[in-house]
Amino acid sequence: MTATPRKLSMKQRYAALTRDLDWDLSYVDPAEAFPYTTFEGITVHDWSQWEDPFRLTIDAYTKYQAEKDKRLYAVLDSFAQSQGHLQLADPRYLNAMKLFLQGVTPLEYAAHRNFAFLARFLNGPGPRFAALCQCEDEIRHAQTEIHTLSNYNKYYGGMHNWHAQHDRVWYLSVPKSYFDDALSAGPFEFLIAIGFSFEYLLTNLLFVPFMSGASFNGDLPTMTFGFSAQSDESRHMTLGLEAIKFLLEQDAGNVPIIQDWIDKWFWRGYRVTSLVAQMLDYMLPRKVMSWKEAFELYFEQQMLGGLFPDLSYYGIKPPRHVSQAMAEKDVLSHQVYWTLYQFSFAAAFTTTIPDEEHLDWLSAQYPDTFDRYYRPLWDKARRVVDSGGRFFYQGLPQLCQVCQIPMLFSEPGDPAMLCQRHSVYRGERYDFCSDGCQWIFDREPEKYVQAWLPVHQIYQGDCGGPTVPDVLAWYGLAEGDSGEYEGSVEQADWKRWHASPAERS
């Protein structure tokens, strides 16, 4: 008579295949094996309190991730086979995806590296395993984003050199420096910076606009990638929320440290989402929603209204400078795209003046600010074009030392006045776009004095040469990648591909 084998519950199985494989080190000092988890001032008394609600083991992980990949690649193949690249609403849409590939995909890769670091150097087996799964997820995201967009690269410009451009091009130092700041922080700060502040607090503000934009504009592969990755993202959100709750619960002394990190990383991440704001309002031919609406839904309602009341139990308050972000809703996207318009001669995407219908949409979405401050600028830009010119900025902009964005943001309460802040540290002046960035610098000046600011590096001769053409060559830009959309290679190609036989002859 054979006994029926006893099946372990999901919870038991998970424990057996993850935590219970851990052991106490007897042949080396734990402090030597895990040298990075005390210097930040964070105290952890009991690593076993870390909860992992998804309870995935390696076999379940690989089974479901493989299934997601199969489904995604089937769609990518089908899209390529059906000439899907011709079915976009408008080729101008792709500027959003060029920005995504150049600016976001490398961050997935950077995240993969840092979660690999956590998978080794966190003391507890629970968080180590969770970090390992996220490390695998992030490299998957980098790979699938590249594959998803690779089909467009056969037909359109701006995507062929994203990897080198991420390290060199002026607007890409914004996302790059953001992640470098997190990577060079300690493991706990990284968990709060990326695991929590990025993957929970700000993730919907980044992700949903791009994926909805794809859906509305005929970009089937990106939309499908979005759905495929989102299921991973729900695990990332969980890890981020678990990280913050675990640390807050472990010791009351952690609370002020974490509050400071939330204050810093909300602001740094929010500044990076400036690129999303202009994408939503200006780069999408078919509009999903305005930046203002997205911010109100994904941040104000879901986070300020949902998450922070939950965290107040621990004494955590909403981020410092959040009211400034809320006040900027009506001006942010306009200030950013106006900047990209005049600098796109040096970018790996094109820009153009919004047409009348688009200008009217902007007026309707931003009744308090657009017609008063920004429509006059576009009307004047139109007059320049009508007289045979095209406005490009003849020079390089002043950059913020912290977020590295050109100092294009306005003084709180006055959209017509640029915001200028500065601090002096060891006899040298540093400039900032806002109170938020200045606060970040003042609390850790030793870090930010090391910033590799593109404009300053160009002037030091580190970017290929002294002239603009030298720098653009160093950026690896190809003909048609940059500048004005009207009359571009992309526009000409699109017209030719969609021309009727009569038009072609």
Binding site: M10, F227, Q230, S231, G305
Partner: protein, 97 residues
């Protein structure tokens, strides 16, 4: 003197709108009395005050085959709230405090 009732915050889940997920959506609707279901392009948003539960047996009876709760990962797009429990039979989403 009555104590003022605390507003119960909503929890929710966004699911991919697909043939396979129809069973999950119907199961969630059946098992969560006060839930609201909204169809948006490509996804379905289900919200409910306080606590949302997904029951394996409820999904299986509508799907017509065995289903393990791990499969929910293929359906989910996003969620708000805290995953309070995830075991062989049930997934529970609610706010902690």
């Amino acid at each position: 003197m009555t104590t003022p009732t605390k507003k119960v915050r909503e929890v929710g889940v966004d699911l991919q709108e697909s043939e396979e997920n129809r069973a999950i959506i119907e199961a969630v609707e059946a098992d969560n009395a006060d839930c609201a279901v909204r169809h948006m392009p490509g996804l379905v948003r289900i919200t409910t005050p306080g606590r949302l539960v997904i029951n394996r047996t409820s999904v299986e009876s509508r799907l017509g085959r065995d289903w393990e709760t791990h499969e929910f990962q293929l359906a989910i797009v996003s969620y708000f709230g805290h995953i309070a429990e995830w075991d062989d039979d049930q997934i529970v989403i609610q706010w902690d405090h």
